[in-house]
């Protein structure tokens, strides 16, 4: 299989490997470990209108086959990103995807407006796995109606940029959220964000995260992520980008097999900083071995 590229809702990726938001910095941190141009896409750390400091330390904890984080969306703010980071990313070759975080629909829309104007941004990824501060802390992504409202607001201001909505797995019925977001105009869905989790130290009797609760990611969550992607792919007609625990080329193909068009790799970038670059190189021989001749021939062909 020679042709690794894939286009979804106008978003062109030279290969289906995207680095996940919050695990690849602003991209430049990894230029020492591989050629950023080789990646299909780079999702940058969640951007907010104003810079944010995030949560107190400790913010990360290791767990069996995974990790917890409660970074709290520390970021340099959209303005600094656009001015100081974006110009140095190889955005003509690799899709740079802006991950958006805001506290209400209006702020999301404003953020989308700023980014819609940037040539270097290939798509917007709306992170709705965060509390709606106005609605008493329930996550946007946990309520289909709220998720739809944010989607609409962003969509109105996104201009020609494809809008990708990133779903939370911490829900009773992820297909219902997916359908609501699709109906609200989303072009692409990405999932899953982290699972809500917690870890404590029995000696000190303290939580391992200052924030007490954080997000679980890494291989531990792959079965849950894959189930979510499978359910969502069957529920919607728009393309889906799958993620959650991918730590090998086989893992990546599992998500394509259940219906995803592309994948994001997150925590695995911490296993080794050249992980995503190696993944891109490992895909062709694996596809060869599996006798796959095109994405169309493989995607969503799980035999059930």
């Amino acid at each position: 299989m020679r042709e690794l590229s894939v286009t979804l809702a106008g978003l062109h990726l030279k290969n289906p490997v995207i680095t996940a938001s919050g695990t690849f910095g602003y991209g430049l941190e990894f230029s020492r470990y591989g050629d950023l141009k080789a990646l299909g896409g780079i999702c940058v750390k969640g951007l907010s209108l104003a810079p944010r400091q995030g949560n107190p330390m400790p913010r990360v904890a290791e767990t069996p086959c995974g990790m917890l984080n409660a970074i709290g969306l520390q970021n340099c703010g959209v303005e600094t990103f656009v001015r100081d980071k974006l110009p140095f990313l190889p955005w003509r070759d690799t899709a740079v995807i802006a991950n958006l975080y805001a506290c209400d629909a209006e702020e999301f829309a404003e953020l989308a407006g700023v980014l819609a104007a940037e040539e270097g941004i290939a798509a917007l990824e709306v992170n709705i796995s965060c509390p709606n501060v106005r609605a008493g802390g329930i996550l946007f992504g946990q309520d289909p109606a709220m998720a739809a409202r944010v989607t609409e607001a962003v969509k109105k201001r996104a201009g020609i940029k494809p809008v990708m909505v990133k779903l939370s797995p911490n829900v009773t019925d992820i297909a219902a959220v997916a359908r609501a977001v699709e109906a609200a105009g989303a072009d692409i869905l990405s999932l899953v964000n982290t699972l809500s989790g917690m870890s404590v130290d029995v000696s000190s009797r303290r939580p391992r995260l200052a924030n007490v609760i954080g997000g679980l990611s890494g291989p531990a969550i792959k079965p849950v992520a894959l189930r979510c992607v499978w359910q969502v792919c069957r529920a919607v007609d728009i393309p889906v980008i799958g993620m959650g625990g991918i730590a090998s080329a086989e893992d990546a193909l599992e998500f394509i097999l259940v219906g995803a068009h592309a994948v994001q790799v997150g925590t695995a970038n911490f296993l080794r900083p050249d992980f995503a670059f190696r993944l891109v190189e490992e895909l062709p021989p694996l596809l060869e071995r599996l006798g796959v001749s095109s994405w169309e021939e493989f995607r969503g062909t799980l035999k059930v």
Binding site: P58, S129, N269
Partner: protein, 278 residues
């Protein structure tokens, strides 16, 4: 693709303790193949991830450079948990993924009297520091430790510079050690003081060093997931109140650059945070 300073899979060349005491107290030297590193500064570190971590242990472990030659990179490891236990049990030929050298090392001011203060395994970065220093006669080392001295590579270091050690055995010893440190620091007004060890030790050194009019650098050991500035897990509040990644802006900082060590009241972490794991 990746440059020589990138991420490489390398083999262990040797592993050994300084002495039977080292073995007993879980203190080991580990030498691995040098993947082509040419420049490295004492105080810098590397991330090491044995293949044997599999998928169970997610993160690589950060370790200070203890020695770099064209053939080998050396570390000095204290077993603190599961990851370091794996590392300290590696045999020649066992493979690990390593990236580095990372971060910023200690200042070298050949002509400034320089006091090295090490607590426990914090001794590690001072071995290459001493080895590379053009004026060892300007260096002095004070080393506090709990396991027996023979467990550490102290003797070799003491052979080239003025050095003394302090064995902390009973609770009261800590006060006597602090008194010793204060006494030594008194001689370093305008001098350079470099400290590596547990956080309370660093805090004490920063305070007393400031009082003595010394310029103090501290090497932080914050928990790290990526080592490259991407995860934002290792941040520390700087004196301006910004949260900076210790893996790229440190691990060595001037004490006055950091909120927790600049003598001001330590500000509690920001509370604007978010319940989601992002």
């Amino acid at each position: 693709m990746a440059d020589a300073g990138g991420c490489r899979e390398v083999a262990v060349l040797s592993r050994g303790a300084e002495s039977p005491e080292g073995e007993r107290h879980g203190l080991w030297r580990l030498a691995v193949e040098n993947p082509g590193w040419t420049k490295a500064v004492a105080g810098q570190f590397a991330m090491l991830r044995p293949l044997r971590f599999g998928r169970e242990l997610t993160w690589a472990r950060p370790l200070s450079l203890f020695g770099v030659t064209p053939e080998r990179v050396e570390f000095f490891i204290q077993v603190a948990g599961r990851g370091t236990a794996h590392l300290a049990a590696m045999n020649p030929g066992d493979r690990l993924v390593m990236w580095g050298p990372l971060g910023r090392g200690f200042a070298v001011e050949p002509d400034t009297p320089t006091l090295l203060l090490a607590g426990g395994v914090g001794l590690a970065p001072f071995a290459p520091y001493i080895a590379a220093h053009p004026r060892p006669d300007n260096l002095r080392l004070v080393f506090g430790h709990r396991p027996p001295l023979a467990a550490y590579p102290f003797a070799k270091m003491a052979a080239t510079i003025q050095a003394e050690s302090f064995h902390e055995e009973k609770p009261g010893d800590l006060d006597r050690f602090t008194a010793l440190l204060r006494e030594r620091l008194a001689d370093y007004a305008n001098g350079l003081v470099l400290a590596c060890g547990p956080r309370p030790f660093l805090a004490a050194v920063a305070d007393m060093g400031r009082a003595a009019g010394a310029r103090v650098q501290v090497s932080l050991e914050n928990r790290m997931a990526c080592g490259v500035g991407a995860c934002l897990g290792c941040v520390e509040k700087d004196a301006k109140g910004e949260l900076v990644q210790t893996c790229v802006r440190g691990p060595v900082f001037w004490a006055r650059e950091l909120a927790a060590f600049d003598g001001g009241l330590e500000t509690p972490g920001s509370r604007e945070g978010c319940a989601c794991g992002n």
